[in-house]
């Protein structure tokens, strides 16, 4: 009995120790860790495939000029000449139903169904961002004899069993945003690295190449958040007089963006810029800065959401990036239908949309046009 008590106490202590060491690790280091991990997996992937591929083991982005794309426009202005020649069923699986971004993507797929003439079925896991449920949804869609499955993966590796089953059943698989860990028929949606690089560069230029910047990262480890963060850091590294004074996660959430920023500005009082890795966290940061009367700080985010664009219009935010879920869903369908019609293969395995040519940056100059004509969120309002 006594022995057992001792063992149990030791065990509890050991667990408690892990907890404390976990907590005392500075967040910056953790982010560095995740970068390192990322590099490690990247390098191992490289060894697997000697082919001409990007660091992640997936095909590099093939950037097409606007006239080569099967659709025209961006956001709610998208249109296409592609028409389904037979009756097709296309299934779309979102990451969740709690984010307007995902809902807009589903709307884009539905709109494509109306325009191109196919049956669109849209689904999302009932537990937000659950890749395990996404696999279930894929299995259910295979059951429904879908011709195509378009999926916004919650996780690159975790989605693979579903992808394989679909491909074995002869179903085309397309991914938007986060790719599957192996090449599928096509990946589209934004190139997260590119978005981060573009926005950070805009901000650095506006700051005249010098200043202190806070970054609010996405959820630790989320592939899209890491790619975007790498883009931001690479762009800022080109400006030696710009210093990233703090880079912490706000988990893509407004409340966390606010509290993290509140905490950070206690220590860092001299701040010229804040980049949130999505609009929500940036808006949270904005509220915190406003409350502290730090009104000169440039704030940037990503996605071009309703609130962020009105903040850009009112001058509270500096810029955001139209990651256009609506158009991404639409273009994915266009490629799928073209292939079903006559076997047309896309020009690459990863065709980003929207590209720089579509001028996705939303700042004080472009915001009015975006709000009036383009904004993807108009599709879900």
């Amino acid at each position: 009995m006594k022995k057992r008590t001792v063992v149990s106490i030791l065990l509890t202590l050991a667990m408690a120790c892990t907890l404390f060491t976990g907590c005392s690790t500075p967040t910056q280091e953790t982010s560095g860790d995740s970068d390192k991990k990322e590099e490690q997996t990247e390098s191992t992937d490289k060894e697997d495939d000697g082919k001409e591929e990007s660091a992640t083991g997936l095909s590099k982005a093939t950037i097409l000029s606007a006239d080569k794309l099967p659709i025209t426009g961006i956001g709610t202005t998208v249109a296409t000449d592609v028409k389904a020649k037979e009756s097709y069923k296309i299934g779309y699986i979102a990451k969740n139903t709690t984010n307007p971004y995902m809902n807009a993507q589903a709307e884009g797929v539905k709109k494509a169904g109306e325009d191109m003439g196919f049956e669109a079925v849209t689904q999302a896991p009932s537990t937000a961002d659950s890749v395990e449920e996404q696999v279930k949804l894929m299995e259910d869609m295979i059951q429904q004899d879908m011709d195509v499955i378009i999926v916004h993966c919650a996780d690159s590796n975790g989605i693979m069993p579903g992808v394989r089953k679909a491909q074995e059943a002869g179903i085309l698989v397309l991914t938007i945003g986060t790719p599957a860990s192996e090449d599928t028929f096509l990946r589209t949606g934004v190139d997260y690295y590119e978005t981060g690089y573009t926005i950070a560069k805009e901000m650095a230029e506006e700051l005249g190449g010098k200043g202190n910047i806070i970054i609010l990262e996405g959820p630790p480890g989320a592939a899209n958040a890491i790619e975007r963060l790498n883009g931001i850091n690479d762009a800022l590294a080109e400006y030696p007089d710009i210093e990233v004074v703090a880079s912490q996660t706000a988990n893509f959430k407004r409340t966390e963006g606010m509290s993290v920023t509140e905490n950070l500005i206690q220590k860092h009082t001299d701040i010229q810029g804040l980049i949130g890795c999505n609009d929500e966290s940036a808006l949270g940061g904005m509220q915190a800065l406003k409350a502290a009367n730090m009104n000169d700080v440039l704030i940037a985010g990503f996605d071009g959401s309703v609130d962020a664009t009105s903040a850009v219009a009112s001058g509270d935010m500096f810029a955001t990036y139209n990651t256009d879920p609506y158009g991404s869903g639409y273009i994915a369908c266009a490629y799928a239908v073209m292939n079903l019609n006559d076997g047309t293969e896309p020009e690459g395995k990863f065709i980003p949309f929207p590209t720089a040519e579509a001028q996705p940056v939303i700042n004080s100059e472009t915001v009015a046009n975006y709000q009036d004509n383009i904004a993807w969120w108009k599709a879900v309002q």
Binding site: S8, L11, T12, M15, T18, L19, G22, T30, D33, S34, K37, E38, T41, A94, T97, V121, T122, Q123, A124, P125, S126, T127, D129, S130, V131, E132, V135, K136, L137, E139, D140, M141, Q143, Q144, D145, D155, S156, N157, G158, M160, P161, S181, P219, P220, G221, A222, A223, I226
Partner: protein, 316 residues
């Protein structure tokens, strides 16, 4: 005498089972794709990981407790196994080590609950957070990956048209059933929930028994974790978030009572199948995911209300 046992038997079939039949009939009228063998197999595959967790949870519920750390333990096994494999340990051995670890975590849960006389809800809630945190630390938040063919042996080898992973669930079911019905330990588990004083009077330590029960649930969660790992082929720190609650719901739906130490794993099968069949059916029929949770919630509530009505009536 015989009449009474017949009545008893009918009473023993949880109302959920009838509900299941009704739902299957409704869905099969709604979509021709629904009632097919391959779809039924899909449901079984999809239900397997939760099913195994729920078997463990049933044991805990029988002792009047809940183990909120089971979901976290499942996620932890997927992560820890891959983590060990990445550091050079053979995958299968890593799986074993991970299962042993969750058994240990379960034992720690039991020790805290039993020795400290702490409500299981709060003790295991604490453990859930600790385990989740460790999973996140091991992976730096993302998913981790280790390539192996073993996963596909588990998910794709079929025996009698059903994948190996489903047979694992069957084995676990048989194990838990035997433990609960045929062993002293099982009788004691029922006793913990039904009449703890009688247990003490009989000279059995409730503390030891509780610790064993939690360790047993941890062990089963470990198996569920290995199956989940084979299914998602990667270490996912948040893959099983919320499963502990679904497992509790399935257990209660299956007729296991939180008050009297009555019930068992057979009912739990129906509980899990009900949840899974509704989900699968709504997907195949093509119901918008926005409405799905509301429908699932309503059906679960309806089932539990029918269950309560039936029980109250039979008591009268």
């Amino acid at each position: 005498m015989q009449k009474a046992s017949m009545k008893q038997r009918i009473k023993n079939i949880p109302p959920v089972a009838y509900m299941l039949v009704v739902i299957i009939i409704v869905f099969s009228f709604m979509d021709p794709h629904y009632l097919s063998f391959s779809n039924f197999r899909n449901v079984l595959i999809q239900a397997t990981p939760l099913m195994i967790v729920a078997f463990g949870q049933t044991c805990i519920v029988l002792t009047q407790g809940t183990d909120l750390s089971l979901g976290a333990q499942v996620s932890f096994v997927t992560v820890f196994t891959v983590f060990l494999a990445q550091h050079g340990i053979i995958l299968e051995v890593a799986m074993l080590i991970a299962v042993c670890t969750t058994t240990l975590i379960g034992a720690v849960n039991g020790i805290i609950v039993a020795k400290g006389n702490i409500p299981p809800f709060i003790a295991t809630y604490g453990m859930q957070n600790i385990v989740n945190s460790i999973s996140l630390l091991l992976t730096a938040g993302s998913s981790i990956y280790f390539d192996s063919f073993t996963y596909r042996i588990v998910t794709e080898t079929t025996i009698l048209f059903v994948p190996l992973m489903v047979w694992v669930a069957v084995l676990v079911f048989v194990l838990v059933w035997i433990v609960l019905r045929k062993t002293k330990f099982g009788t004691n588990i029922h006793g913990l929930g039904g009449n703890r004083e009688a247990l003490t009077l009989a000279g059995i330590s409730p503390v030891k028994c509780l610790i064993k029960t939690f360790a047993f649930a941890g062990f089963i969660a470990g198996i569920a974790g290995v199956i989940t790992l084979c299914r998602v082929e990667s270490g996912q720190p948040t893959v099983a978030t919320g499963w502990e609650f679904q497992a509790v719901a399935a257990t209660l739906l299956g007729g296991t009572s939180m008050r009297e130490g009555k019930g068992g794993v057979t009912g739990t099968i129906f509980g899990v199948l009900l949840i899974q069949i509704i989900k699968n059916g709504l997907n195949v029929v093509g119901v918008q995911s926005t409405y799905q949770n509301a429908i699932i919630g309503s059906i679960v509530l309806a089932a539990i209300i029918i269950d309560a009505v039936v029980r109250i009536r039979s008591e009268k």
